[in-house]
């Protein structure tokens, strides 16, 4: 089985290398058959990489402990669902997942571009398969997931207990789909530069890819946060860990790209900037993969020491140098078709949003990489604490929230004072109404920024509601449809715009959740004998008894806690601790009672032989809205990319503003 898997990967490497050469050769006159062959090679790479993945899954499910990754990350007692997800528990396995998803994405690109973008496609294939060559060569010659062990152990070491969680089953694949998906816009950008087809066609061709990749990356980040919240047992969900940052950086830059492409499409501006953003986005996706595998930074999410760092660094350098060298040679072709007419215009707001997002990404990059730089330059590893990130991300996040509300209110090109007064009136009034209660709830801790977040959230949500209202009114007048029908028409006719507004609602909710949890959460520790009660932040906890259990897999202790809000019993929580025998590793089983207003989050620190439960209690306000916001972001992104039923029937143009242009 090991040999078969290795052979499949070697075949994938050879086919990918051939696809690069054949695709580039096909650009010569009369060599079209090589393009057909290159396209088939892409399908071939997807096929044999799938064979390698299925082989690995078979090895995991059938306990083939002669394969090092199976012995290292699975065991006989592990459930089949976790055996499947153990594929990405190991370094080599996770790279195999990367290569597989990339090959599937490349095959999908070829399949969906059989009749379009034919001039771009040879270069697109060359870029995507070039990346596949890198990953399949690493998997074939440097770190194989099919490496074997001798002697063969009777049982495996099992999967890290921290990874035995439903969110960890989906978080890595979703992140990888995001990372891999971002390779597609990059490949199209390079193809546009190489072929000099630098109009907006390449951008419209990759719009769905970019939005979906951005969505998968975002949902992956949210699920990773949820995993940290439930599994790590420290009451929080985000610690500015280097690997968390590594996923956030490409997401931030991709967000900037999604906004700036609209300026290019509408005004023919920011063409160079968009090329820079798409290159940076993909480079940061590679950088994230590099960080988790280089061993240069320690993280709960990283794979530890490895020799892969230099290879990934080499790929990043090649991508950056190659893309920017190409960009420089094409600068004359990337001149803007118009210029910024006013600093108070929609395009200017997009520009500010871009600067803030890229600035935040740079700050996160700097804070992440600083320990490495300080060690290289001064010999001391100076760790950048959470305070640095909070201080930078807080104000920038608020400014972005403000722009999220302002953007839709400001017209393209320029805005008159009268227009601004008319458009800003209602959102500003609503925001002012929220100022006093926001200041009241935040005054005791001096958390002015949380109050600001609540005020700006009210402003932005009102602005979005206003956009929906004006859109409905316009549709009602234009199409003569009912008001409910007008809502449907908004989404049918302009999914991208209104899907985008739904995404903005999700972003607002996430920021509200983050701000409230950061500002208003409280924590307390209790030691309760059986029947004894204690209080944290107004909630009373009663120890109703402990439990102890043991099976072949783990030892468990738990405590049953009655939770009261005043005289009312609101929940029974059962926090516990598992000790997994194979690894002798401890894992907290956190108990959470969630409502839209707060989470009661309880961690069992220990249970003494005489039944005293030592617990840590966290009261986290508005936590639910982070997860709900994430769901709404995903929903909005899906609305934005959902295909429209555009007819290919002969198109006509209705009379216009001057009634002249008809066809």
């Amino acid at each position: 089985m090991s040999l078969f898997g290795r052979a499949a990967l070697l075949l994938a490497f050879a086919a990918a290398l051939y696809a690069v050469c054949a695709a580039l050769w096909s650009r010569r006159p009369g060599q079209q058959r090589f393009m057909v062959s290159a396209e088939r090679a892409v399908y071939g790479v997807a096929g044999v990489t799938t064979v390698a993945v299925v082989t690995m899954w078979t090895a995991l499910v059938t306990d083939q402990f002669n394969i090092a990754d199976v012995a290292g990350y699975s065991s006989r007692s592990l459930g089949t669902n976790y055996k499947i997800t153990a594929l990405w528990g190991s370094q080599a396995g996770s790279l195999l997942l990367w290569a597989w998803l990339l090959s599937l994405a490349a095959a999908l690109v070829v399949a969906t571009n059989r009749r379009r973008n034919r001039e771009l496609l040879p270069v697109v294939i060359a870029v995507l398969m070039g990346i596949a060559v890198f990953f399949t060569s690493v998997l074939s010659f440097i770190t194989s997931p099919f490496a074997t062990l001798s002697p063969v152990p009777l049982d495996g070491r099992g999967l890290n207990p921290l990874l035995q969680n439903v969110y960890m089953q989906s978080h890595p694949p979703l992140l990888y789909i995001g990372y891999v998906g971002l390779a597609v816009p990059f490949a199209f950008a390079i193809a546009a530069l190489v072929t000099r087809r630098l109009d907006t066609a390449w951008i419209t061709s990759v719009r769905r890819w970019t939005i979906l990749s951005w969505m998968f990356l975002g949902v992956g980040i949210i699920l990773g946060s949820r995993w940290a919240y439930e599994e790590l047992g420290w009451g929080g969900y985000w610690a500015w860990d280097p690997v968390e940052n590594a996923a956030l950086m490409p997401w931030l830059v991709a967000t900037a790209f999604l906004h700036s492409v609209m300026v290019q499409e509408r005004r023919g501006m920011l063409k160079i900037w968009n090329m820079v953003l798409v290159t940076l986005t993909f480079t940061l996706a590679l950088f994230g993969t590099f960080l988790t595998r280089s061993g240069i930074l320690s993280s709960v999410h990283a794979f530890g020491e490895s020799t892969l760092g230099p290879y990934f660094l080499g790929l990043i350098v090649v991508v950056l140098v190659g893309a920017f060298a190409l960009l420089i040679t094409r600068l004359p072709l990337l001149r803007s078709q118009s210029s910024l007419e006013s600093y108070v215009s929609r395009e200017a707001v997009f520009l500010y949003n871009n600067l803030l997002l890229v600035g935040l990404a740079f700050a996160v990059f700097w804070g992440t990489i600083f320990p490495v730089l300080s060690e290289a330059v001064r010999g001391d590893k100076i760790t950048v604490g959470q305070g640095f990130f909070d201080q930078v991300a807080g104000p920038i996040g608020l400014a972005l929230l403000f722009l999220t509300g302002v953007g839709p209110l400001i017209p393209w090109r320029k805005a008159s004072g009268a227009e601004l007064r008319r458009r800003f009136g209602v959102p500003v009034i609503v925001a002012l109404i929220v100022v006093i209660p926001a200041l009241m709830v935040s005054s005791d801790g001096g958390h002015w920024w949380a109050a600001a977040a609540l005020v700006l959230a009210a402003f932005t949500l009102t602005a979005i509601a206003g956009e929906f209202w004006r859109g409905m009114k316009a549709r009602h007048q234009l199409d003569g449809v009912s008001w409910p029908g007008a809502v449907g028409q908004l989404f049918v006719r302009n999914r991208r715009r209104y899907g985008g507004y739904i995404v903005h609602v999700g972003i607002v909710l996430v920021i509200v959740g983050i701000a409230c949890q950061g500002a208003f959460s409280s924590q307390g520790d209790l030691a309760l004998a059986k029947g004894q009660q204690g209080t944290v932040s107004g909630y009373t906890f009663v120890n109703e008894g402990g439990t102890r259990a043991r099976d072949d897999h783990k030892m468990s202790v738990g405590a049953a806690l009655g939770v009261y809000d005043g005289p009312d019993r609101i929940a029974t929580l059962n926090p516990g601790v598992d000790v997994f025998l194979a690894q002798m590793q401890r894992s907290s089983e956190v108990a959470i009672d969630s409502t839209p207003f707060r989470d009661v989050y309880v961690v069992l620190v220990g249970l003494t032989p005489d039944g005293v439960a030592r617990i840590s209690v966290f009261i986290n306000p508005m936590m639910m809205w982070i997860w709900v916001g994430g769901l709404i972001i995903a929903l909005g992104a899906l609305v934005a990319v959902w295909p429209s039923r555009r007819s290919r029937a002969p198109a006509t143009i209705a009379p216009g503003a001057d009634g002249a242009a008809q066809a």
């Binding site: 079209q32 062959s37 198109a651």
Partner: protein, 96 residues
């Protein structure tokens, strides 16, 4: 057994990739006319979407009357030009 499977996989992959090169059939030349027509139709649909969006922006108050008139005129002129181009390409030959 494993070696046989590897051989089958290798032969299948080589056959898949090499067939267009050795089949002796002339490769499917890109239908330049069909591609140009499709590109023109795509451009036209994008242009029509832009006209609708400009109209929505104006009705929703995102564009002043003067800006709307200018943008609308420009985009409609572009759409008419694209329609002429599409019609000319259709007249040149049957599109697949």
């Amino acid at each position: 057994m494993i070696y046989a499977l590897i051989a089958i996989l290798s032969v299948a992959l080589v056959a898949l990739i090499a067939w267009p090169l050795v089949s002796g059939r002339a490769p499917t030349d890109p239908d330049v006319a069909a591609q140009a027509l499709r590109a023109a139709e795509d451009d036209l649909l994008r242009s029509l979407d832009a006209i609708r969006e400009i109209d929505m922006d104006h009705r929703a108050g995102n564009l002043s009357d003067a800006d709307f008139a200018e943008l609308d005129r420009e985009e409609r002129a572009r759409a008419v030009e694209l329609m002429h181009r599409r019609d000319a390409l259709r007249d040149e030959g049957p599109a697949s």
